[in-house]
């Protein structure tokens, strides 16, 4: 057992840099995205979809305290969204390359036998319910649910956001027609873009809640300086 209070170097520079750049990008993309949603808050499946067509979802009007800018302005929402879309996409790419070289993916995120065992996953759920997030014998290791959620966000949700975002672009649809085939048409891609953004929003809320439960000061310090202390 590692004694409580032991300092561990937990997050490398590339991880910390990307975490904060990405956090800013996600918040701005979310706020500006809700502003864009207010322009046409209906979702469709297929290639086309407009006012006379069947919408599978009718979204609420998002209030000013959630949108960028606060007062409706589609042009400015798009300016924020499209600039930070580049930050998100190229930031993710740089982080992925760095994490292959510094072995972050291999050491921290690669799944082991334990992570796919239903018995262990069930135990991990019970530990989370009891607010126990660290293995006392190997406290630096990510727990299985943590690994799964990071893997799903980094390798599935964020790439899906980028690809569905590109599929909304008439220019990119000409350049890469496979984008439309992948998602079943532009309006389907738009629906997937919205649903996935809600999933990322849900991840963010749970992530923040767990950071608070696990010890906000310790977790924040580790994501700023890299150093984390083994909790009691």
């Amino acid at each position: 057992m590692v004694p409580p209070g032991t300092p561990l170097y937990r997050h490398r520079l590339a991880t910390r840099l990307w975490h904060w750049i990405n956090a800013i990008a996600v918040v701005i993309l979310f706020g500006s995205g809700l502003g864009i949603s207010n322009a046409h808050p209906r979702l469709y499946w297929g290639a086309y979809g407009a006012n006379f067509d069947h919408a599978w979802a009718q979204l609420p009007h998002f209030p000013g305290w959630l949108t960028i800018p606060a007062s409706y302005n589609l042009a400015i929402s798009r300016r924020w969204h499209l600039f930070f879309a580049l930050v998100l996409a190229f930031g993710l790419l740089a982080y992925m390359i760095a994490s292959l070289f510094n072995r972050h993916f291999r050491r921290d995120l690669a799944l082991t036998g334990k992570d796919v065992s239903p018995a262990h996953l069930a135990e991990d759920v019970r530990d989370h319910v009891d607010f126990r997030f660290h293995d006392a014998d190997d406290p630096g290791r990510y727990n299985s649910l943590q690994k799964w959620s990071y893997i799903l966000v980094i390798f599935l949700a964020l790439p899906v956001m980028i690809l569905t975002g590109l599929a909304l672009s008439p220019g990119m649809d000409a350049a890469w027609p496979w984008l439309l085939q992948l998602f079943g048409g532009r309006q389907s891609a738009r629906s997937v873009h919205f649903v996935t953004s809600a999933l990322i929003g849900g991840f963010t809320v749970i992530h923040l809640a767990l950071v608070i439960l696990a010890g906000l000061g310790n977790e924040l310090r580790s994501m700023i300086t890299g150093w984390w202390r083994v909790p009691a």
Partner: protein, 246 residues
């Protein structure tokens, strides 16, 4: 509790801060440079002639909604509608060797391309329809566009705050094989809400670039002295991107 509030509060501050940042000219310039980055990336990733997807008749929208001006309703325009556009003329001018003035009958007599394409509004909706008309490139060649021309400006019959709506594209899109001056939608002559008698189809860009009610096509070397210099009505007045490929 304080820390929890700090976390939520910092996200709130970030959102509110964005509205201040956009007022700072230097920050605004960086943010607006996103448009040039997207244009550069898209142009680098695609061939000049890469085609927008085309669809079959079975894939068309049952109803193709109109948007923007539904009727220019000016005395000149109403006169053209009354005589079925017999008095209408399309001017092709600017940096050209042979300025043209074409009647609708002359435009309809030109070799036409028919394409079923998707119209994407900046707001988020899409509609698929069939467009017919001559290639813009054919007109520009017939007029003898000069090499010094870099942009093509479309002047429209509908007025916004007393000024004609206008839009512009560069020569890459002007000579694209799907860039046409459509005089028919879904096999019928273009109706007034959809831009009669002639509108632009520039299929790799968003809806506000698809100028309706076109009265003049002008080849220019720079957009700086047209309107307020941003290349279009919405670009001039509400900060829309000139390059609307995304």
């Amino acid at each position: 509790m304080i820390t929890r509030r700090a976390l939520v509060g910092s996200a709130g501050l970030l959102l509110a801060g964005c509205d201040r940042v956009v007022q700072v000219p230097a920050a605004r310039k960086i943010l607006f440079a996103g448009e040039d980055m997207h244009r550069g990336l898209q142009r680098a990733l695609s061939n000049r002639g890469a085609l927008a997807p085309e669809f079959t008749r079975a894939e068309m929208s049952p109803i193709f909604r109109s948007n923007g001006t539904s009727n220019p309703n000016t005395p000149d325009y109403n006169g053209w509608v009354a005589d079925r556009f017999a008095g209408y003329r399309l001017a092709v001018n600017g940096l050209v060797d042979r300025p043209l003035s074409l009647s609708l009958a002359q435009l309809r007599a030109m070799p036409a391309r028919t394409q079923i394409t998707r119209h994407d509004c900046v707001e988020g909706w899409s509609a698929i329809g069939q467009w017919t008309g001559p290639l813009l490139g054919t007109l520009l060649k017939a007029a003898g566009m000069r090499r010094s021309a870099r942009y093509v400006v479309f002047t429209c019959a509908d007025l916004f705050n007393g000024q004609p709506y206008y839009e512009s594209i560069d020569t890459v899109d002007a000579f694209h094989p799907q860039t046409i001056l459509a005089w028919a939608l879904n096999g019928a002559p273009l109706d007034v809400p959809h831009g009669a008698p002639v509108r632009l189809r520039v299929e790799r860009q968003l809806g506000y670039k698809q100028a309706k009610y076109i009265t003049a096509i002008t080849a220019v070397a720079s957009l700086a002295r047209i309107g307020k210099g941003q290349g279009g009505y919405w670009e001039d007045n509400v900060d829309y991107d000139w390059y609307a490929g995304i």
